[in-house]
Amino acid sequence: MSETEMLWKLRQLPREIEPGRDLWPGIAAAVGQPRARSRARWLAPFALAASVLLTAGIAWRAQHDATAVPAVAVATPATSSKPTPELPATRGATATGSMQGALAGDANRSRMITGTVVARESRAVTDEYQAALRQFDGAPLPAEVAPTLHALDQSVAQIRRAIAVDPGSVFLLEQLRRTYELRLSLTQRAVMG
């Protein structure tokens, strides 16, 4: 047999050969657990970035609040940490009425300022948590967590609608923050496996 003929025959050998048995079950059994660790390693930087982003945002908001809150507190005697100054006994009814009017004006102004602060805070919280959650866009999530995530998203939408109606509610703002925090925590845990 010439070399040319031999090489031609080598090229004619089948390029595919069926294994004697199905090898997939052995592969499937072996690849399950390692991939979970691999995926966690792959997403770890994203989870860290999300946490850093969120922490930085909250820290910035806290620092910002340190200057905004005292202005509200000073204008709101009922919530001020300082006791309301006693009126001088020598002042008359006119002076007292004038003071009450001034206090009523202060209360209205206080509610307006509180509303502005809460609305601004709710927008900031929403922006910060949504930015953190975007870090997980496209990441595979177990199907079993989908209903919980959906319920949390609905809660967020409801709370934001409530804040639009009652922009001065610090309680609603805190609920929004807690719900977003839970949403982010659950997403992180689901992705990290």
Binding site: M1, L10, E18, I27, V31
Partner: protein
């Protein structure tokens, strides 16, 4: 004489491979099983030949290759065709196993065995079994067989083979020359016996 063999890549099938590989890289086990179903026969063929036609070893190598592929897929950048990447990974897996099994002494034993078989055949003492081309390839010494399989059947270049086998390009050419001579001798002897 060098023979240019067809590329291992199959462009028509590669479009689907990319989507499946991306899904598998993201953790989709079904997509990875689909890739296994597409490519297992092709992978098995090359590792079976590199393993000298030993089915059990070849099956182990196929499983190990796909497990390594699963592990490595998240880092695959799709800069080459998936089939090329997978087949190189499988060949690398088989060659690693080959290196771990065959020290110099083992290779000499294989060479000696082959020469003995040829002598015995000439003397008429060999088992009267007609060897087809596959079986003749399987009886080659491991490194010579690897070079012949990769060059003459899989279409690799000597530079690529030398890198994978950790040898000089000249050694790869020498091994191919040796493998062809041994193979031709075996096939000629078979024809003489027909």
């Amino acid at each position: 004489m060098a023979v240019e063999t067809a590329s291992v890549d199959a462009p028509a099938a590669d479009d689907g491979d990319v989507a499946l590989a991306r899904a598998a890289a993201g953790g989709d086990g079904r997509a990875f099983e689909a890739l296994y179903r597409r490519h297992s026969r092709r992978v098995y063929a090359v590792v079976w030949r590199l393993a000298g036609g030993q089915a059990a070893r070849a099956e182990d190598l196929v499983q190990e290759s796909f497990i390594r592929a699963w592990q490595a897929l998240p880092a695959f950048r799709f800069e080459s065709a998936f089939t090329t990447w997978l087949h190189r990974l499988a060949v690398n897996t088989a060659l690693m196993e080959l290196r771990s099994r065959s020290g110099n002494e083992d290779r000499e034993t294989d060479d000696a065995m082959l020469e003995h078989m040829g002598t015995a055949d000439t003397a008429g003492q060999r088992v009267r079994e007609q060897l087809d081309l596959e079986r003749a390839v399987a009886t080659l010494p491991p490194r010579a067989r690897a070079v012949l399989v990769l060059h003459d059947i899989e279409g690799w270049k000597h530079e690529e083979i030398a890198t994978e086998l950790g040898m000089a390009v000249g050694s790869s050419k020498a091994q191919l020359h040796r493998a062809r001579n041994l193979l031709r001798k075996r096939l000629g002897e078979d024809h003489e016996r027909d």
